[in-house]
């Protein structure tokens, strides 16, 4: 599950992420980070489900951080995809594969939002939310 964490300036001085990792024991991975004087935005990958995921979400909330679940990372307009494969091998996490009929399959769970595929697509059918 990917989460978007929104910090306000009151929380930026505390090691929110480290605290959550220590408390839950979940190996949380930072995919994107943006810090400004007013706030911080993090997109993190939390590689657990169900009860453990709820524990992580609660831990973040206890730190005073706003938590949003990210449902869609990238959108593939497969009706307009030409099944060329230009997005496949540049993907660093094998999140995009070609099936035996060469059509594209995207595995959301593996995506780290690096967007290399968005630029690699020659017919611009991949968009990032």
């Amino acid at each position: 599950m990917k989460l978007r964490l929104v910090y306000t300036h009151e929380h930026t001085s505390r090691p929110v992420l480290a605290n959550t990792i220590m408390k839950t024991g979940v190996l949380i991975n930072i995919l994107e980070a943006q810090m400004t004087p007013e706030s911080g935005h993090l997109i993190v990958d939390v590689p657990v489900d169900n009860q453990k995921l709820r524990e992580v979400v609660e831990a973040f909330k206890a730190e005073g951080v706003k938590v949003q679940e990210i449902v869609a990372t990238l959108t593939f307009d497969l009706a307009n995809c030409i099944s060329c494969g230009a997005c496949v091998s540049p993907c660093p996490t094998n999140a995009i594969i070609q099936k035996p009929d060469w059509t594209i399959e995207f595995d959301e769970k593996k995506c780290i939002r690096c967007r290399v595929c968005v630029d690699a697509c020659p017919v611009r059918v991949i968009t990032c939310s």
Binding site: I82, S83, C84, G85, A86, C87, V88, S89, P90, P92, N94, I97, Q98, D101, W102, T103, V116, D119, A120, P122, V123, R124
Partner: protein, 377 residues
Amino acid sequence: MEKLRSYEEINAKIKKGDAVVMTAEEFVQYTKDHGVSVAARDVDVVTTGTFGAMCSSGAFLNFGHADPPIKMLHCWLNDVPAYRGLAAVDAYIGATAMSEKKGLEYGGGHVIEDFVRHRSIELRADAYGTDCYPRKHIETTITIDDLNQAILLNPRNAYEHYNAATNGSDRAIYTYMGTLLPRYGNVTYSGAGELSPLYKDKNFETIGLGTRIFLGGGVGYVIGEGTQHFPQQQFGTVMVRGDLKQMAADYLRGATFHRYGTTLYVGLGAPVPIINERVAESAAIPDDQITTNILDYGVPSRSRPAIRKASYKELKSGTVTINDEEVRTSPLSSFKHAREISRTLKSWIEEKRFLLTRPAELIPDSREFRPLEVRKT
């Protein structure tokens, strides 16, 4: 070489509905099962297909005359400049010409796709004005239906096979071979392998000026060798033309290669008449016998070093080994569409809608391939 069948005999069988037609993939399998001699005798026509980015593509357009008329000096279609060194209202829109407003995101390839989709296109032109063509400026909208002629004419299409690409440098590079990650992070490749039109008649015994083909979803013709035709190294190419008005956007797509520019994906399929056993042998070549060099595009030179050789079978498997590491591979041309094209052409022939033509002149099987020498004065 013993002649197995003539064009006339093949066409007579097509008209009767008796012709035996196989796609190149089917023929490769049939040959593995029965041997080339039997396959050559059993099969009349093998159909091929490719759908790849082909930069040397474009269309001749005739706009018709406005009143008062104009002899266009410069001309733009959706802000993409078209070549105007022709008669008053003839123009050539090339696939790699880029929009003066949108840059790399929209180019001649996209204009061609928009024409085929019957979308409205902004035509703008200026002129110096003459006694016979007094108008100096024109701005209007057109669709493909307004044009007298819209003729796709591609100087170089359907490379027999092509190099594969990787990147040994320390930074990601963006090329006409797509995005290449640093330190041999991935491999991209192009060409249709065992479906490739020109590889399936690699001695060029059946393909030449006048060969009727599938082009962009319609019917087109080979009109001779393509530019940079270099058959000795299996880099044969063809020049093709066809009526854009018959074509479909499923098989002609404008495209952008990031930080490189615009191009056009072209769908092309040729029928290979099995006129003798040598043609059958060529049509039967499988992916594992079609090899190409993986070149290091991280070296910014005309002579890019070859890292290794690989067959299309290996490339299609999804990984190759470079320096003892598994490296992911992916194609840039669409095998899905290439296969569809070979199947469509097969069905056209089986439905008696497509007859074969004997070329008036075969494309040459040998050509010098010259670099451009830079002479300093």
